[in-house]
Amino acid sequence: MVDSNVKERRGVHVTLRPMQASDAAITFGWRQAERARLLNAGAATVEQQAAWIAGRPGSEYNYIIELKNGTPIGMLSLVGVDKTNRHAETGRFLIGEEEAAKGVPAAVEAMKLLYELAFDELKLVRVHGTVASGNKLMLKWQKYLGMQEEGCLRQHYFIDGVWQDAICLGLLEHEYRTISLPRMAVLMKVGARPAA
């Protein structure tokens, strides 16, 4: 069940609000888009998507990324929160409304808000995730923002009829503070500046 304790998280450019079953149609549409082709296969219908959202366990933090004007533009999750070993997995990260996100550091701030939840609020020491080897933009982006490549699961995904490796990425708390935060701050500043 969706946990009502998952709180909205507000940034300068975007807000993370808890995903609800009523987001099924829009999130299903994003998952069908070309940009989502490198993600795991999702629900086959809007109804399945609604059931999937409604069935998320309370331990997951599933968010819709909204611009400050209320426009939903993507999704992002923190799952597998292990409070004993103090780690969790980031995932389901997708900017579905590409045009609306241009020129706005939406993806950066969304990730920053999620990392704040993980490291500052939940006091985790590590977050991790996997990215399909063919998703080069996401790999480059995650590494630039501090994620370290920790391994490779060979032929882990079957995407568009082709086997792809899963690249395992991890971020420790000190890397978040010394690499991620400064770089995120710069990218946020770029997006906040008026053009020439």
Partner: protein, 99 residues
């Protein structure tokens, strides 16, 4: 010596690399005046990072020393280096000239 034409070539190559990773509907025109990340932006922040990483790497290799496009100095420029190809080119040429 890295010339202005050489730096422009590096920037345009980074944009072509980015286009190669885009779906058909996301591809954009790569020209010496392509808007990057500002008003009428062509790029979102995922795409911008791809350009930054490629350009920083190629310019640093060509110069034989590391440059950073995302330090405090870059952000303190009157005009953002990431407005368009020309503003990025101009900022990099400042870094190149410092030897």
């Amino acid at each position: 010596m890295l010339t202005q034409d050489g730096v422009l070539e590096i920037i345009l190559r980074a944009l072509h690399n980015l286009n190669d990773e885009m779906s058909d509907s996301e591809k954009f025109d790569v020209t010496p005046t392509t808007k990057l990340f500002g008003t009428d932006a062509t790029l979102d922040s995922l795409a911008l990072v791809s350009v930054i990483v490629d350009v920083e790497g190629d310019v640093s290799t060509a110069l034989g020393r590391s440059i950073s496009l995302t330090d405090d100095r870059a952000m303190s420029q009157k005009v953002s280096p990431f407005d368009d190809v020309q503003t990025l080119l101009a900022y990099i040429m400042v870094l190149v000239a410092e030897g």
